[in-house]
Symmetry: C2
Subunit: 395 residues, 2 copies
């Protein structure tokens, strides 16, 4: 009698969550230092000290009624202005504060955008491997979810398959670069080709196809890798941003939707975003942290640990004979399983207390996701376990 | 091509918002002290000092990664336990922490509950006068919104009309006591009769009818008025709570859903709540403020200003010949307009810089809402303006 689909969503734990709970049990049984939990994408480095300083100064300087009071639904104007100025400076754009709509994190950014942009009968495309909640969010908005199979081994876009998926019902395409779970960053060439096809299809079908760029990992890239700034390549872009990873604030739920000023009928789209936020019950993004992220615009946590972890893990695993692409961004490594069935591979890994997530959850069968937002020590201590796992396949 | 209903929701400003913006313009033109803005229900008293103390101690004592990290989707266990203990103590209930699901405020509590409980074809009943977003939330969940006309002059429930609205499609009934906009508190007699009818109808139709008790104003009552604790009167109760008003934290978005342990198939309903939260993009309620409200469980802001304002306003207005019921709770007074058309009455009030919201917005035609969560001074200064408004109708 209640909503059955909601019951199912709420009662079926994701296998990531399942593994995480298993890990806690194992830790209690054999000691946390003996369990190598690579399951959860929870930042392991603290927010930059400026976050705490911002909270303290806001508590001291600002009137408490205003500090904790409602902001306007789209977010405090000064906050949006500060974020806008930072974005314009970094990406040579000419957005105004009114292009930005503050949200309670990336998930809210996505559910609100999808609710604003799609109507019944619409299709939304994404590329494997992808964050599994995309399916939940697209279907909750009432649209059809379409997946382009993954391109191996580099996890860029398979354009032949993409062209087979796109049709007159395609209302939006979601990309996520740097990518969860592959760690891949779309090259400028990939972005250009994607945008070329989208522009062509917009003309052919005579309606906008929105490119939803889900960017919680934008700041987390290694070496001299550059993440092309999507709004500069494609007009009908809507950016879904989150401070969860860049400022290590996942629990605080803070992010934004940017409706590019080049979007066709940008004001109507922005109004629909406001309406969708209202319909979903998002009155305003949490007020204190709106002001905190404004004070920290453009900053990040100390990401050097992730870089170190990536190098250590990549070198260690390839030396052990594992196959993987060196991740350019995010804090995930997508390892090729040593057998076709990644779930079976993960079960074997568990024998050595290695908790890895099967790629099947991300539409990446045959792979496993390793979250390296952990202590460097954990990676060092896990290497003998990986060695044993590798040895099992040499028998 | 985008979602037209969302565009309309986002582009049509509510008349409350409209009036608020008008008030800001008038303040700029003639000085804030000369504008009597009674439009917005934003707490005017600061949070209790314990809120700031809680933030400071959490920032000092708790590891930053944990403090700002994801909590479990239903909320941190220790937080839910603290809130549960306080509720059990105050209302002689025997809930467990797992009856509570932390949310980003009352609006989130409602959208999540409605999405969890209703399916296409279901009807949700509420009683006029009511908070206008109820319609938005019910319709966003895909259910039909049914309004029982108001009972005058006391704004209790008109049970004859209620019985005409309830039918086999009724899945839920929303009540809001203390009420926005009337300030009425449902008496125990009202609650008992409502529950009696619902129990009868549950039997007749052979399915649960959920009583959604929206309680952001529960703590804001005057004198010796008692708000009956609804779960103690009706088994299939879901409480939607918010700390926005009780702790003056509306911008921080913090509340909870309580699925009573007496609800039929309570675990399934709770799971559906978890699923709905996930589908709507609520990953977890903001983490820092979860811990803050746990530390402040059972506390409130200093509500004496509201009590003083109520008395001053009620006495002043009745002395001027206005008709209204003395509000028992919340911080609203629902005044009978001096003419049939409350919108016209509010337009006349504007001439005297009095900003009042027409009751039409709340399905309470012929009335106007006066929010007295303002400074006591504003009420004192506004009285001559109310006198002029009254005089206009004596001509």
């Amino acid at each position: 009698m209640i909503a059955k689909d909601m019951y199912e969503l709420g009662s079926k734990r994701s296998s990531i969550r399942e593994l995480f709970e298993y890990g806690k049990k194992r830790a209690a049984a054999i000691g946390a230092e003996n369990v190598f939990d690579f399951s959860i994408g929870n930042p392991s480095v603290a927010p930059p000290p400026e976050v705490k300083e911002a909270i303290l100064s806001l508590l001291t300087e600002k009137d408490a009624v205003a500090l904790h009071g409602y902001t306007s639904a789209q977010g405090d104007y000064a906050v949006r202005k500060a974020i806008c100025d930072d974005v314009n400076k970094r990406f040579a754009t000419d957005f105004t504060a009114d292009c930005f709509y503050m949200t309670a994190g990336a998930a809210a950014s996505l559910t609100i955008s999808l609710k604003a942009l799609t109507v019944a009968g619409d299709e939304v495309i994404t590329f494997a491997p992808f964050f599994p909640e995309y399916r939940v969010f697209v279907e909750a908005a009432g649209a059809k979810f379409v997946v382009v199979p993954m391109r191996e081994p580099d996890f860029q876009i398979d354009f032949v398959q993409f062209q087979q998926c796109i049709n007159e019902h395609t209302k939006a395409v979601i990309i996520n670069s740097p990518n969860n779970p592959s760690g891949a960053v779309y090259t400028e060439k990939t972005i250009c080709e994607l945008c070329r096809i989208l522009q062509e299809k917009e003309k052919e079908y005579g309606h906008p196809i929105y490119l939803i760029s889900d960017e919680p990992y934008r700041e987390i890239v290694y070496g001299d890798v550059v993440v092309p700034y999507v709004p500069n390549y494609y007009d009908d872009t809507v950016v879904c941003y989150s401070y969860s990873k860049s400022l290590s604030l996942p629990g605080e739920r803070m992010g934004y939707i940017l409706v590019s000023n080049k979007v066709q009928n940008a004001q109507e789209v922005y109004a629909a975003v406001c309406g969708a936020g209202r319909a979903l019950g998002y009155v305003c993004a949490p007020s204190l942290f709106q002001m905190v992220v404004a004070k920290c615009a453009g900053m990040t946590s100390d990401l050097s640990v992730y870089a170190k972890n990536r190098d250590l893990l990549y070198r260690g695993l390839t030396e052990l004979g594992f196959t993987c692409v060196k991740p350019d961004g995010a804090f995930y490594l997508f390892l090729k399983a040593k057998e076709k069935d990644a779930v079976a591979f993960c079960e074997k890994a568990k024998k050595y207390e290695l908790l890895l997530v099967p790629g099947d959850d991300f539409a990446g069968p045959g792979y496993v996701r390793i979250s390296y937002c952990v202590s460097t020590e954990q990676i060092e201590r896990a290497m003998p376990a990986f060695a044993k796992l590798a040895a099992e396949y040499k028998k």
